[in-house]
Symmetry: C2
Subunit: 892 residues, 2 copies
């Protein structure tokens, strides 16, 4: 018997063409007809009509909200449906996260948020057994690894490269075992993975949703248009997999708002197809779920092909590479990443400050709003940048609202921890040098909260109006600082505002456009600029005494307008399709206007055009070179959409190879015009070689590795030997026909185009020590210190220093999560942050002796002044034995 598993499902984007609220309520149906509240209403009604019916639900962000609005009677009914397996949660995260542009930290958080709600609400019966990423535009190995580590039994998705799919269809490799980590011991990160036959849609002709026009089953025999026989035959003819179980996704985007249409017709389909068994038919149709289907596959005890790389990049046709969204909406991508940092800080301070941080001197605060906002932002049309403009604004607004709730919590917590309730402000706009308090106050204090598990050195730039400041640390010791910029203009006029003799530096040479400028700071790096172009020309690691030639410049690809002969495909929010493989250079030479030289920082500012500039910086004590780029407003008055990259050209013999991270965690090897498991016919020599980077990319040869650590997710490639390019910004003139219906052309504050600014941190080392630098550097970029400011001098009894840790964590150990779980419980996640073999020193097992302890009675009414600090209650040794170990979740 061939068993056809009908899987009724709805795919509910947590924002896309409409905001998540609009989707929930069914508002703005003129944009897209979709109302999730009604979907759940309707499905629950229809499930009750027949115990054979099944439904799966995926996005907990929506389910959670719906659940809250139901009365007890409905909640009881739903619970029973869940207990009986008629309603099954699948995937179960807050959203169905994007896989190219998300950071694993935020993915784990959003999965936790959703799964916890399901667990709290339904217990074991609510636990999703299957991961279900039917829509994301390519699939990251790290996602599969996370799913495996979370205990999912399998993973289904819909989209993969069309060539890969065709091959797998042919060789019957649509189902496989994905070994998703190079570090974890198998089968720790092994996951059964299936590609769905019709994406996530029903077979052609069998879409019975209100949004479809397929013929319903007309089974009134008196009827002129009686079509049962025809429909049944069509179904039997549908191309099935050659197994005795096949899965059919019966649903699609926002379907089942009126579930009756689906179920009524599927009931008939099942009835009439199965009735043919009496006449010898070997086809059995049944309502099912992915986990039921998977269970049947497991019983079949088959062997699956092995998959060890990932599913990037995704192309659905020869000129249709979904590699543009790796960079789309760079400012939103940065804001999402910063918000993750803030949320971790908020979580930590909620724990450290105790219950009063949620209700304290500054009012009511919470981390839940930010958690939900971050959960929503992980959606595959959120941080991915593939949503409509008004929806992008809504995501940003949610993050800002989340932070506003966190701010209160953080203020309360810092008041508790410092013993001072003096007002405290946060400066949101330091990236554009705006902070009203520091600009107006002659005396202020800055608090720094570092959410990392170890000490970090972090340069701070503040706008001030005075010219001489004394800067001291908590102990009254002077801190290296500098007021104002130190200009060395093109004309070599030199104004030096120096404080505390910071000019006593080994400044070897300063000269612009006549000869090389060297920046040589504090022993680690030497940088030279080309004397004629003003561009970077070389990089020297002074510790190893290695030098590479390094030229860096900015270019733009002309986005395809869809008018060439191969294909009408345009570049858009999803798709990257340059008109030519050769980008236009913004400027062959940089106007190198400003150099700052002090004991803390050395800066060169390069102007490439009115809309592209860069500050090159070296900091005291740092091993990285910082490139702070500013791109925009990208001009499009010439009718040309532009995709702006920066390219680093070196004499590293990287050949066709380069390396990109997966969701900020493990790094995968990439090779130009090549896919590890199938023979690629390359049709887009640029776009077809782009890969997502979330935290870093590098090129290397035997001796040299140049690593770029980024501040947000971007697209990157290496198209030439020794070259690494990163796409920074995109402004386009056409929609790319994947549904969003808008050209990606962010208006920015002044409606003339968005200005994006960001940082690339370059490290140059031998390959075998590279990770020792880029791992902590990248974690420091992800979890940035939180600065807050108070006017005047702290009062006498203010506690100026505090640490939640008794000592730094070992270098290999990362504090992924420290978060209040419930009143009595704290969640701590520690992970080994080095991939297998990447570091001689750190890719080794490590043991952490946990002595984290808070009084369990804390926050009770009987204890008015509960000490918010940890008390020793137990000692736990946590052995992080696998490199890139799964985060250990410890509840204290």
């Amino acid at each position: 018997m061939l068993n056809v598993h009908l899987v009724p499902h709805t795919h509910d984007d947590v924002g896309w063409l409409k905001t998540v609220d609009q989707y929930y309520y069914g508002d703005r149906n003129n944009i897209q007809h979709a109302g999730v509240q009604y979907i759940l209403d309707s499905v629950i009604d229809q499930l009750q009509k027949d115990p054979a019916r099944r439904f799966i639900y995926v996005e907990t962000a929506f389910f959670y909200r719906w659940w809250k609005q139901q009365n007890q009677s409905t909640q009881r009914i739903v619970t029973q449906l869940v207990n009986e397996g008629r309603l099954e949660f699948i995937n179960g995260g807050w959203c169905m996260s994007d896989e190219a542009t998300t950071h694993y930290s935020a993915v784990i958080d959003q999965m936790t948020l959703g799964l916890r709600f399901l667990n709290d609400t339904f217990g074991e019966c609510g636990r999703p057994r299957v991961a279900w990423h039917i829509d994301p535009f390519g699939h990251a190995r790290e996602h599969a690894s996370i799913f495996a580590q979370m205990g999912y039994d399998g993973f289904f998705f819909g989209r993969l490269d069309y060539q890969d799919k065709a091959r797998r269809m042919k060789t019957k490799e649509m189902e496989m075992l994905w070994r998703a980590s190079e570090s974890l011991t198998p089968p720790l990160a092994d996951l059964f993975t299936g590609v769905l036959p019709n994406g996530y849609n029903p077979p052609e002709g069998f879409c019975w949703d209100q949004s479809c026009d397929d013929a319903p089953i007309r089974d009134d025999p008196d009827l002129e248009d009686y079509n049962v026989d025809e429909i049944v035959q069509k179904f039997l003819n549908a191309g099935f997999y050659k197994a005795n179980h096949i899965i059919m996704t019966m649903g699609s985007d926002f379907q089942y708002e009126n579930a009756n249409l689906w179920y009524k017709n599927m009931d008939k389909l099942i009835k009439y197809v199965n009735a043919l068994q009496a006449k010898g038919s070997k086809v059995n149709v049944l309502y099912s779920t992915p986990s039921c289907y998977l269970q049947e596959l497991n019983l079949a005890n088959l062997t699956w092909p092995l998959k060890t790389d990932d599913f990037f990049p995704y192309a659905d046709d020869a000129h249709d590479f979904w590699t543009g969204y790796f960079t789309s909406r760079p400012a939103l991508k940065l804001y999402e990443r910063l918000s993750n940092s803030r949320l971790q800080t908020c979580n930590q301070l909620e724990v450290l400050g105790g219950p009063k941080s949620k209700s304290g001197p500054f009012g009511e605060g919470d981390s839940d709003t930010m958690k939900r906002a971050m959960g929503v932002a992980q959606h595959h049309d959120a941080v991915s940048g593939t949503e409509k403009q008004h929806v992008a604004y809504d995501y940003a607004r949610r993050l800002a609202t989340g932070w506003a709730h966190c701010e209160v919590l953080v203020r309360n917590s810092l008041a508790i921890l410092s013993g001072s309730e003096a007002p405290r402000v946060f400066c949101e706009n330091l990236n554009i040098s705006v902070c009203p308090l520091t600009e107006s106050s002659h005396k202020f204090s800055m608090n720094v909260y570092n959410p990392l598990g170890r000490t970090v050195s972090w340069p701070v730039r503040l706008p001030v109006n005075g010219s001489v400041y004394s800067v001291t640390d908590a102990n009254g010791r002077a801190v290296d600082s500098q007021v104002g910029n130190v200009f060395i203009s093109l004309k070599c006029t030199c104004y030096i505002y120096d404080m505390k003799s910071s000019c006593l530096l080994p400044l070897l040479s300063v000269s612009i456009n006549n000869k090389s400028v060297l920046l040589y700071v504090f022993k680690f790096l030497k940088v030279t600029f080309d004397e004629t172009t003003g561009l970077l020309s070389s990089l020297t690691n002074l510790e190893t005494n290695q030098t590479i030639q390094l030229t860096q410049n900015f270019y733009w690809y002309n986005a395809s307008a869809g008018n060439n002969k191969e294909s009408p495909q345009t570049s858009g929010a999803y798709i990257f399709r340059p008109n030519s493989s050769d980008p236009f250079v913004i400027n062959k030479t940089a106007e190198t206007q400003i150099v700052t030289v002090s004991s803390t920082v050395q800066e060169v500012t390069q102007w490439f055009s009115p809309w592209v500039s860069q500050v090159v910086r070296l900091y005291e004590g740092h091993r990285e070179l910082e490139l702070e780029w500013t791109v925009g407003p990208v001009p499009v008055a010439d009718g040309l959409g532009k995709e702006v990259i920066t390219r680093l050209d070196t004499d590293i013999k990287s050949s066709d190879y380069f390396y990109t991270d997966s969701n900020g965690r493990e790094v995968l090897e990439r090779r130009k015009d090549y896919r590890p498991t199938w023979e690629l016919k390359q049709t887009e020599p640029v776009a077809g070689n782009y890969y997502p980077i979330n935290s870093r990319a590098y090129i290397k040869d035997d001796k040299h590795q140049l690593t770029v650590v980024t501040d947000r997710s971007q697209g990157a490639s290496s198209l030439y030997n020794g070259s690494l390019e990163i796409m920074l910004h995109r402004r386009l003139l056409y929609d790319d026909y994947r549904g969003v219906g808008e050209p990606l052309s962010e208006p920015g504050d002044f409606s003339d185009g968005l200005v994006a600014r960001g940082r690339l941190l370059l490290t140059f080392t031998p390959p075998d020590t590279a990770a020792d630098v880029h791992r902590p550097l990248a974690q420091g970029m992800v979890l940035q210190p939180l600065l807050s400011f108070q006017d005047g001098t702290p009062s006498a009894n203010t506690k100026l220093e505090f640490s939640g840790l008794q000592t730094d964590l070992p270098p290999a150990v990362h504090l992924l999560t420290l978060s209040q779980w419930d009143e009595d419980t704290v969640l701590i996640r520690l992970e080994h942050q080095y991939q297998a073999k990447e570091s001689k020193t750190h890719s080794q097992p490590v043991t952490v002796n946990l002595q984290c302890q808070r009084p369990l009675t804390m926050g009770s009414d009987t204890e008015p002044n509960g000490d918010p600090h940890f008390l020793v209650t137990s000692t736990t040794a946590v052995e992080l034995t696998t490199y890139r170990s799964p985060p250990m979740q410890i509840r204290v």
Copy 2:
């Protein structure tokens, strides 16, 4: 307290853009999203969720089909909802009939079909109390009269002339008492009538159907987009009637497919608006029905303005008169009318033939299929001609299928009645002189069934191949007949094929285009033709010796293409909008080619153009002049849409007055550029003076009345003194923006445009005796004899004559219905067929002595040869005391 009655309803067209089956099943949703099966599923589910919720359902054609598909459990639930008044049937006919183009006979039948189903299924609780014609495009007085006579408590509709509506809004005359008959003694035909405030739609902003884009109520207080206060305020600001009860139609076309959307939001609206009562608000919102609302109005004991005319024509703007559909699809309109005649015949023969007529020698037959097909055809987008082409074909197909079922019944019945089971054929195409049997057989018999309650003279034309036939009646007596045409060509060559000396006629003069041609037959009428034009020139009543000048010709109005400056309105299926008030003449002269002269008929054929011709006929023993027109294919290659009329211009001093019937029953006076109850600002001098005629129109002065009896519904007007014009055919190039989305351009059999053929019967009499002629003439046109044919000579024992009546009914009495009600019961409807005062002789009370009698045991198995004739079982005297009396329904 102002009570706002929310009336949840759906308006389900029984065919329009999709066929009735497609609407029922939700097929072809690419044309229009609509699936009635789901509407009823959904509403029943939602009604169960809250006893406060209400719903009304209107179209029994749909409900009947849905009900049949439900299981007992659902049927029980529905019955309970009906019994509790939560689901209420309104109107309740098989469809919501058109009012301009339907015949009262078919309207009564379709209402009976629907109401009977409701009564059989739900008893008294299923009885609709309110008539509900929210969509028909103008309202006929006869419809209101029928509703009043059927016992409805009130009538609501949506569409009336925009000027009239504006005035009524201003003077608060939106609700009125309609005195709907000039013949029936008040209050027999009095009906409370209300115009709905928003047509049949919800107030702006409050449409919560899945088909609408209005904002749902977002009542989650955490929500950025919380909109309860705004929505409540908007509702309170909606312009209410100045009464303490107002009705709001919450629904529209095919809405409530997902009733949850509506009810969920209305629940919230009621909750939040009524919550304001605690703060002093005087607004109370409730779920209601039209009958609840009407009951409240009755309790208020108000006085209503009186309405005695009708609501034609309907205009929704200055250049948007819905007077085109009076004529649209002339062939469908004729077929529907003929089908009514056939259905009455089928019904009568089912009674007369007894149970074996449904299962007899020719198989299984029934009248139900035809009843339902006719029920559906009465819909306001069916016989009205305002449906899409494919739907028009579907209506015709249904009628043909209905007739196929009836044919079997009729064959069985005639076999029973005649005692002969010899095969019997019906010739469907006699109108184009095709009948295979008569064309091939040298000897055949013709059976004639006359469904009228009295003897009728009916000319028959058959195609034959022989040249000499002997024609005899049942008693072997020769019948006046003639084989072949008698040609008198333009060149005066005369070929006479004469049989049995039929040329001995008082043929006074035959001459074409040289001088007048006179047709003068058998004492009643004299017709002359103009010697130069070939057109009719005069008409003489030889009984009264009155003569009028009469010119008749064909013209076409150029249909507006919507490109003139007053308005972009085009002529279309609904709208008649000539580009100019002056029509183009097809031809100033007619080529008058053929004259037939015999003892039975005299004919002149006029050719006006390749696509317009006419046969003018006088029959022996008849008082009418027959004009058989043929129009089409209407040429549109010149890019001009054409609306073809014939105009009769006389010297009758009719001034601005003319007369048109209402649904084939009472006649109303019309006056050019005038409305009886409101001051018309005439903006369309032609279209704004068009009225529907269903059976007749006339003009008159003190001495003369020229009446035209038609074979189908048409549009007519009198734009000049002494003139009467009738629109015959329309072929257009543009849609008229009322939803049908197609230009009305019927392709016909050869895709070059439909050819329409029809008959106008002219009677010319003094006004006071006109009805004595046109009433029986029109009834004879409505109920035509059914002809059937048998090859060869009937066998010896064949009964050649039969009558279901012992004697003719009195001249004033019309047998409206003779139909099997159930096994033991027969329905007979008799009506007085004269309007008050129209006939000295017949507009008088009349008493019928009923001696209709059949054995109640008839058809039982124990009586193998049950005499199908009536037996006396009782005698009932039926007094038809009111002129135009309601049909007496007698169950025997």
